[in-house]
Symmetry: C2
Subunit: 178 residues, 2 copies
C-alpha cells in the first residue's frame, strides 16, 4: 500500500508563494505543454489525498480540474464541495491511519499524497514511500514550505533524475528503511 508524493517546489523548498499562488510553477516556457510525467504518474495511483488548504489553493487557480482519480480532502471544517466536483471529490475527516485503512478497504491502495500539511503529516509518521520532486530554478524566499520538522532523519534511495525543459530538475526518491 504505497504512498506517493509528486510535487513541484522552488530551490528553497516552497510549493506556493507568499500569496498562496502557484504562478512560479509556470515560470518556465513550456510551448509544447510537457506535463513532466504528471499524467503517467496519475495513472499509476488510485486516488489523491490532500488537505483543505491545498484543495482551496487549487480551486483558486481555476481552470480545468487536473486530477483524473478520486480526490479525498481531509478536513474537519469543510462541509461541501462545488457542485461540478461532486463526482470527483469527497471530504474525509479523522485520524490519518484510520483514513488510510478506510481507503485501502475501499480498494484505493496507491495513494497520491498532495499538499504541504498532509505530506508533512505522512512524513512524520514515516509512511511516505516515494517522492518525486520537480525543482523549479527559483528562490521564492517565503511561502508554503514543502517540508517541516521531523522526529527523526529519513533516508531515501535516489532512483532517477531528469532535467526537463532544460530547467526543472525532477528527482524520484524511494524511502530506504535500514
Amino acid at each position: 500500500m504505497p504512498n506517493f508524493v509528486f510535487i513541484g517546489a522552488s530551490i528553497d523548498g516552497y510549493i506556493a508563494d507568499r500569496n498562496n499562488k502557484l504562478d512560479f510553477l509556470e515560470c518556465i516556457p513550456n510551448p509544447e505543454n510537457v506535463d513532466f510525467g504528471f499524467q503517467d504518474f496519475m495513472q499509476s495511483v488510485d486516488c489523491v489525498i490532500m488537505g483543505r488548504n491545498t484543495f482551496e489553493t487549487i480551486l483558486g487557480v481555476g481552470g480545468e480540474w487536473h486530477y483524473s482519480k478520486p480526490v479525498f480532502v481531509l478536513s474537519s471544517s469543510l462541509t461541501s464541495v462545488p457542485d461540478k466536483l461532486k463526482d470527483n471529490v469527497e471530504i474525509m475527516q479523522g485520524e490519518i491511519n484510520d483514513i488510510i485503512t478506510a481507503l485501502n478497504k475501499r480498494g484505493f491502495s496507491r495513494l497520491y499524497i498532495d499538499g504541504a500539511n498532509v505530506i508533512q503529516s505522512f512524513l512524520k509518521k514515516d509512511i511516505i514511500d516515494e517522492v518525486i520532486i520537480s525543482t523549479v530554478p527559483m528562490l521564492l524566499g517565503g511561502g508554503t514550505k514543502l517540508f517541516g520538522m521531523l522526529p527523526a532523519h529519513l533516508s531515501f534511495e535516489h532512483m532517477e533524475t531528469q532535467v526537463l525543459l532544460n530547467a526543472l530538475v525532477q528527482t524520484r526518491y524511494k524511502r530506504k528503511k535500514e
Copy 2:
C-alpha cells in the same frame, strides 16, 4: 566579480543537523573518495568567505583543513583563530559591501560564499551569481537551513545537473536577471 555558493544540503534544505553536525554529508558510501568537484571548484575561486558559526562548525568536525584558498571569517566577536590556521584564516568585520570592496581591491574577485548566514545575507542583497547544490537523499527534519526569507523572488538559470555516486544530485544554477 562573481560570488559563488558550493554546498551540500539535505532534500529538505538543511546544511547541518540539529546538533550542528555534518555527518549526513558522509552518509553515502564513497570508497574512492570522489570529491564531488570540490577541488576543481576551489581552484576556480580566489578566496572563501564564511561566518563564525560555519567556521566553528568546521573546526568542530576536525580533520584536515580542506580550504586551499584564503578564508575570511566574518565576525564581530571572534578575535583570534587557532595557531595552525593563522596563515589560512583572517577575521573580518563590517558591512558586506565594504568587505567585498576591500577583498576585490586586494585581488580577490571570485568569492566562495560559505555557510547559511553569509549565504542568506548575500542572497538578500542579490549578489550571489552561481549556486552549486549537492542534494543528499535524506530528510533531516531540522537543523541549519540553507535558505531564509528573501525580499523578492530570485530566478536562476539551470546550467547542469549530475548524479554522483548514484545518490547525490548536484545542480549548478546561474542567477538570471531580467
